[in-house]
Amino acid sequence: MATTCTPSVGLAQTVGKGCGENAYKCYQCKKCTTGCPVAGYAGMHPAQIMRAVQLGQLDMVFDDRFIWLCTGCETCTTRCPQGIDIAAIMDELKIIARRDDRIPANTPSAAMLKLNYDSFVRWGRMWEVELITLDVLKRPMSAKSWLSLGPKMMLKGKINPTLKRGDTVAMKRMVATAESITRTRQNAYGAAAANAAKAKDVPAAKAKPAPKNGGAS
């Protein structure tokens, strides 16, 4: 359990800016958690993640494996009585974690998402064989899980080693434009948020001395 605490007043705002969802609407009914297929497999569950986002508890959100286990099944989004698109918030947290280099160890799914992204950017289409091969090279232990299933799938002709490319030129152009627009928007918001935080921090620091949490980074 993490004992350090790095509150950030901006987390819910950053999430809202990225995906348009208001995390403060959550009143902790935990319907999301009840329906979540992976709630029991990490330290946190969806309602706790929502609370931590409201309170700006970066470490609680980003040191846990939960967001990387989220399959995007949209059950939480479908059932939320407040109409919050919780799955979109989980996506946004993944985007922030990747951008701020806060992906914890032992989250192979995070690396897999990137392999997947790189694969379709490279070929215009996602190439399953390439994904599994590169993953095994990175995590040799993962080969164990393919020892039995891999050959069986191959024998059934379910593994197609060849790939017909998509329109790679168009793909590269779209990726470059999308990444550039996204960067411009993030920089604009980042600068505005930094200015707002500066303006807010001055009276706050006077009113209360900063907490001494030695281990916080």
Partner: protein, 288 residues
Amino acid sequence: MSKTLAYYPGCSLHGTSGEFDASFKATARALGLTLQEIPGWECCGNTAAHSINRLLAAALPVNELAKVEQDMKLDAVAVPCAACYSRFKTGAHEVADDAQTASDVRAVVGRAYNGGVTVQNLIDVYHDAVGLDELAAKVTRPFAGLKIACYYGCLLTRPPKVTLADDPEYPTHMDAVVKALGCTPVDWNYKTDCCGAALALTEQHIVDDLVGRILTDAKACGAEAVSVACPLCQVNLDGRQSEMMRGKSDWQPIPVVFLSQLVGRALGLGDKELGLKKHLIDITAVMA
């Protein structure tokens, strides 16, 4: 009457799920639908794009929709893969819903998409594009009441603001389709529960738990086979089952078939064009 639909197969149907592609195309032919594959189609962005770059995730499917609308001049696209279908519906929803997203997507795609294309998943094609009456009229080899658990999984119905599904928690359109083929759809509890999706590549133990729960309920509710309309659901329910049998010798396997294979069998199509031998858990007995 012949209808023409644009066709977006997606990466999985050209990869691990060739039999889904083959059986879907064979049934479309038999039902008088003409499929035109989108030329030079690209990946819809799948699960990766929306957790890495939100704008690209919206733009990739909208680019395909713009091709269908403006280059192919068609008003509907068949997207049998549930994950691709979800990305198409979400992309179209986002550009229709938000002016800023629409203008960003337009910059990425290089042209505007005007919303003139209906996106149809596998169930929609049989249920709506063909229609239940016409489908039933073309059945030449009806099933003798084979009990089917219709498994919709996550993305065919969720989120309802995007899919506009009638009942996202207990959908029935696939049930109606299998009924038209002479099968008996069973009432069961895990119709729309998640199979674990891509976690099968990285967290197999979780997928084994989820798949075990889904299939145990299907069997307890009397199903003799599970019908799916998503390549990843099929790979997980079929493939993980074959792995579970190594660990648990008492696991009684249940066949997991594509809805398109059931339709094809009822239309009298051949085993080979439906790819009935491609599954790890044998399906030929229930499809005989």
